[in-house]
């Protein structure tokens, strides 16, 4: 099945103009800065707004055609939408929220409850069934929103910044859930302003800037030929090619330990955020499992953080606070050690 989008719409002062296709089994990330038109695009695909010009089709069936006036309303599209604020219905408990879609489609109460129970089990949150939305944490309500979106058996799922509102722990869990949901009969569109999420979770990336698509491609293609601010930003996140085997990642001569991930063994793209690396004058004690001896090649102090380029064995950029950098300079230790937590290394199939 193919979703085919070719639309224009004026959103405030922004002229949105996008043309692309998404296939079943595929996860496409739409990335770009705030105000680029990402959410407006999702709303048109869901049927919550209409295109000024152009058309949207699903496997040849017209959903929206500005020239003929054809428009399929949101409840009739096999699409489900996970909203940024989760949009749980406040007066229904978790089970009834998840069962809502089945009920709305005319399903009997018993059937709806069974489906809701199954969807909650699938996301591993059945124990939340009797709670009210106001009693859930951000991560829990996110998980429930995903279960609710899954319960209607959608063919296309739209996610609007699903990880943005979560704290760090819940975010890692939500990413794992997202990665594990992938299946052959489901197309997914993930809107995010987080470069790393797009790179690690999507099969293809659409980079949107000021309403227009500036680049489309697989994560490796985008990294090979960056053509947008967004991709340039990813390059600042130290993307590297490596080989994954279990939780061991080899990059050149380095072997790093990575945290929980969904990537199969083999070639991967690994990302280490510059801020997640710590620098020390002597070998650090304690938790970080990835510690190596290195040297500094260049220092850039032009921004509010100091950006340090490391030499062999791992040529990556590291960002530290000015105070942290001063402390490093005045420390009497002879060596330079770098460390990064296993959970801070993101890996994605290349």
């Amino acid at each position: 099945m193919t979703l085919s989008v070719d639309v224009r719409r004026l959103v405030g002062s922004l002229q949105l103009d996008a043309s692309f296709a998404v296939e079943s089994g595929e996860t496409v990330a739409v990335v770009g800065p705030n105000g680029a038109g990402k959410t407006s695009l999702l709303r048109m695909i869901a049927g919550l707004s209409a295109a000024d010009e152009g058309r949207i089709t699903w496997n040849g069936t017209v959903w929206d055609d500005a020239s003929s006036g054809e428009f399929v309303s949101p409840e009739q599209r096999p699409v489900s939408y996970v909203f940024q604020d989760h949009a749980l219905i406040p007066h229904l408990n978790v089970l009834n929220n998840v069962a809502f879609g089945v009920r709305a489609n005319g399903g009997r109460r018993r059937v709806a409850r069974e489906r809701a129970t199954r969807a909650l089990t699938d996301v591993g949150s059945l124990e939340l069934a009797d709670r009210m939305p106001s009693e859930l944490s951000g991560g829990e309500s996110q998980t429930v929103a995903i279960a609710r979106a899954l319960a209607t058996d959608p063919k296309l799922m739209l996610f609007d910044e699903p990880f943005a509102a979560l704290d760090a722990g819940a975010r890692a869990q939500a990413r794992r859930l997202f990665a594990s949901m992938s299946n052959e009969s489901l197309a997914r569109i993930l809107v995010t302003h987080d470069a790393v999420d797009a790179l690690t979770l999507a099969d293809r990336i659409i980079a949107l800037e000021s309403g227009s698509i500036v680049q489309v491609g697989t994560p490796s293609e985008l990294l090979a030929t960056p053509r947008s601010h967004f991709v340039a930003e990813i390059l600042g996140f130290n993307p590297m090619s490596g080989e994954l085997s279990g939780d061991q990642l080899s990059i050149g001569t380095m072997i790093l330990t990575v945290g929980a991930h969904e990537a199969p063994d083999g070639s991967v793209i690994a990302i280490i955020r510059p801020r997640s690396v710590s620098l020390h004058r002597s070998r650090p004690e304690g938790s970080p499992r990835n510690v190596w001896r290195t040297s500094i090649t260049t220092v850039d102090r032009t921004s509010d953080r100091v950006r340090v380029q490391l030499g062999a064995p791992l040529h990556i950029a590291v960002e530290v606070t000015p105070a942290g950098f001063e402390a490093l300079l005045t420390d009497t230790g002879e060596d330079l050690w770098a460390s990064v937590k296993a959970s801070e290394i993101a890996v994605h199939p290349a």
Binding site: P74, E75, F100, R148
Partner: protein, 270 residues
């Protein structure tokens, strides 16, 4: 505990004094009423057929008014809060003007429109032989005209506060606009609807000016409790005091029974 501790240091003395005067102003009439009521003849008054008649008429008409206000007012409130109807501000103004109008003027306006020689009333009379003024339905029309705006405004602000995103989420899950309205929007707005209905009912129960102007004063048909009270004041003061006390107690029961939802929904705290 010292006196200083018991005194809330943040309350300026001027505000405290004026506030206490305001409280006294509200409480004094109620206390005076309770003192003057001939409690011993309470049951005699309740056995008075004319009083019972007026009481029943008031309760029945005000309840019918409340039901009608909900049936027509909730959709109107939705249109004002959610639709992109042109001239919404003007429509809201016209539909809530009767709330601030002197009730007698409201009654005169009703006579001009629905009276026997009124713009519409004449047609009703000529074509269908229906004469509204000075009948029980006229009491309901008068009450509805002045009381429904309370429901419309309260429910409108309830609709404005309920989340559009939640409604959109429901649409994407397969719910038709009507399903969303009945299963998502209305339950989310229920506190505001209850609050609006109570305000409407209270206003309808106390209606006097528009009723006596448009519906007149016929025992058993249009003589409601407030009108009966006013008339009793000229013939039998004790009866007037008793009926008044009856209404105070009735209002108090409602207020206490609903205080959480009522105050919360109006104050916008929920």
């Amino acid at each position: 505990m010292s006196r200083r501790d018991r005194h809330d240091a943040r309350t300026p003395i001027v505000i405290l004094s004026l506030g206490i005067v305001a409280v006294a102003f509200f409480v004094l009439p109620l206390v005076a009423l309770a003192i003057r009521v001939p409690w011993s003849s309470l049951f005699d008054a309740l056995g008075n057929d004319a009083t019972i008649e007026a009481l029943l008429l008031s309760v029945i008409t005000s309840l019918i008014t409340t039901v009608l206000a909900v049936i027509f007012g909730v959709p109107l409130a939705w249109l004002l809060a959610r639709s992109n109807l042109p001239g919404r501000q003007t429509i809201r103004g016209l539909c809530t003007l009767s709330m601030v109008l002197p009730p007698v003027v409201a009654g005169v306006a009703l006579l001009a429109s629905l009276g026997r020689r009124g713009v519409v009333g004449q047609i009703l009379d000529d074509w269908f032989g229906v004469r509204l003024p000075f009948t029980m339905p006229a009491v309901i029309v008068a009450q509805l005209f002045v009381a429904m705006p309370f429901l419309v405004l309260t429910v409108e602000s309830g609709f404005a506060r309920s989340s559009m995103t939640v409604e959109e989420a429901a649409r994407t899950l397969g719910a038709t606009p009507w399903y969303v309205f009945s299963r998502v929007t209305i339950p989310a707005t229920r506190p505001a609807i209850v609050a609006g209905a109570v305000l409407t009912w209270a206003r309808a129960l106390g209606e006097f000016g528009a009723t006596i102007t448009f519906a007149g004063n016929f025992p058993g048909a249009t003589r409601t409790l407030p009108i009966a009270t006013y008339l009793a004041l000229e013939t039998n003061v004790d009866d007037a005091l008793l009926i008044s006390m009856l209404m105070v107690i009735l209002s108090l029961i409602i207020l206490v029974a609903l205080r959480g939802r009522w105050v919360g929904a109006i104050g916008g705290v929920r």
